[in-house]
Assembly symmetry: C2
Homo-oligomer: 340 residues x 2
């Protein structure tokens, strides 16, 4: 568990995109981001208070989160003095960079000296079990995509937020770096050893109240040759009762795979249900989440109509139009006979 | 690459089953197993010459293979003196046990001193790439199962052997421990980090001659909740042109999953082709491999007839009746229009 609230370390981020981890945290846990720390040359700005280490500690920050990815995903030498200062001031540090905090002798020494924790969220720290496939109590919703990076995390977070707003029981179960920072915990699924992927997902989403929904963060796509195995482990380890189909119209090809076209939404629906029914014959697709960010308002509505016509399911862009329609669909399905 | 031939170390194996890795090597690369080393109390016997370390070296052995799995998969203290003697005599050591040769200071020291190699075949030693999904030259055959441990490795090895017997070009591509010992190289797929599984399979089966067949060792099952993600990485990273369906009739449930029934063969065929066509629309199922070892001859023939009736494909038990029928089916498919 990564202690919140956070001081978001933006370092010398050359642009906004380099700080997208920080952006995700601000979008989804604004209450957990009490300040930002920017170094000389930082071109990113989360529009939250700039704070020194001492000010952040004073304001109650518990963890400095490295919310920036620089070239190569490494911990820059120029950051080191700031990170040591943070540990000395009583902050833990959390990072999703490729090279590890725990591989930096200066940080390891300082953390030990000041009794602080170093969280490398890309590295599994638990020995996950082999999946046992047993039916668990509680309900589960998994977002799956026609491609990678089509908004699976965002729709899951938007639906969970809407559930909580309605006073219902819901958890977001993180499987990726940004998601883990948002939730404060989770499984870095793409770094888990193959044999334990499905078991890690079972571990992440244990038995729960009958009226509790887990919103499990999706990864990859069943149609993406590079990562489809990770996705299937989520489908089989997650045992979803409900599937949200995610899509971004207009992509010329699968991301990173110029030889591959995205599947149609109805094809994704058919294939994911085929695979999901192996572990849960009652699983249903309940709605479609469409990333319409590069379209005009009118085009966006057209995209949603197209998605609804293809699938017969309610479609929305949860960022643009809210997640109410998807939560309505989820609850109406689950109150009926179909989900139990 | 693990240097052959091998001295098979059976240690103090309590029974034949504990030496199943050695058995697999003897079954499929008898020419690579020039002797066995048995300690006091060893109840396994490969029926190959018993040799001392010195005798094995004299006979040309290059590597001592730990062909036994004891409780907990650990390297026993009682073995240590023998293993050090082997290194001193000029043998490398290879092991598929859970605890690693390279974690044993005595062995690491001796290997360094005598210039020998320690191979832990469960541990990936290569930084595999992310899969790129590009079409590769040459042809590929993948065995998939209704369950785990239904003979996928055996049918692949049997078909490769039959191809070579006919003077055709064929390689066996190992993805598991025993397979790696048999081939002398391969990818320990179940130990690869999630994001790199499909890339590891692409790496394992690179471009080749147009008339060359790779027989890729299968793992898990698309229907097995614990390991299905590994299987899908094989289907998408392997880009098979041909699928062999594998089945063992009569199992009461999926192995390790008492709540799950095995799928029917025709259902496996449908699902695996759905997933395979994502990366190779020309992929075809060409035959069925049935493990009939617990049935009488007559029952076995009945099993094959049943498999043929269900799938419309030729079926055989490659151990009992040979793999000719499957190779015939593979070649007749690939000479026609369907595979190119």
């Amino acid at each position: 568990m990564i202690k919140q609230p956070y001081l978001l370390f933006l370092g010398d981020a050359p642009d906004r995109l380099a700080a997208k981890v920080a952006q995700g945290i601000c979008d989804w846990r604004p209450e957990a981001a009490i300040g930002q720390y920017r170094m000389a040359g930082c071109a990113a700005d989360m529009r939250i208070p700039d704070m020194s280490i001492a000010e952040a500690r004073e304001a109650g920050a518990e963890t400095l989160v490295i919310g920036v990815a620089n070239r190569g995903g490494v911990i820059a030498d120029s950051w080191m003095a700031v990170l040591e200062e943070a540990l000395a001031a009583g902050l833990d540090i959390a990072s999703g960079l490729h090279n590890l905090l725990t591989d930096e002798p200066r940080l390891v020494r300082a953390a030990r000296k000041f009794g602080r924790e170093l969280h490398d969220v890309r590295t599994p720290v638990i020995d996950y079990p082999i999946a046992n496939g047993r039916k668990r109590t509680g309900r589960r919703c998994l977002a799956v995509g026609t491609d990678v990076s089509v908004g699976k995390m965002y729709v899951s977070l938007a639906m969970q937020r809407e559930m909580l707003r309605r006073g219902l029981k819901a958890s977001f179960r993180a499987t990726g770096q940004t998601g883990i920072f948002v939730a404060g915990e989770g499984v870095p699924l793409d770094a888990v050893v193959a044999d334990f992927m499905a078991g890690a997902v079972e571990w992440l989403s244990p038995d729960n109240d009958d009226d509790h929904w887990d919103f499990i963060e999706g990864q990859g796509s069943l149609f993406h040759a590079s990562y489809s195995g990770v996705t299937l482990a989520l489908v089989h380890g997650g045992q979803p009762d409900a599937i949200i189909l995610c899509h971004e119209p207009g992509r010329p090809h699968m991301r990173g795979l110029p030889d591959y076209q995205l599947p149609e939404l109805e094809r994704l629906c058919e294939v994911v249900l085929t695979m999901a029914h192996i572990v849960n014959p009652a699983c249903r697709a309940v709605g479609v989440s469409v990333n319409t960010s590069r379209f005009s308002q009118e085009e966006a509505r057209q995209c949603l109509q197209d998605a609804e016509a293809r699938t017969g399911l309610p479609a929305t862009d949860p960022i643009r139009f809210g997640a109410e329609a998807l939560v309505d669909a989820l609850l109406s399905e689950s109150n009926g006979e179909t989900l139990r």
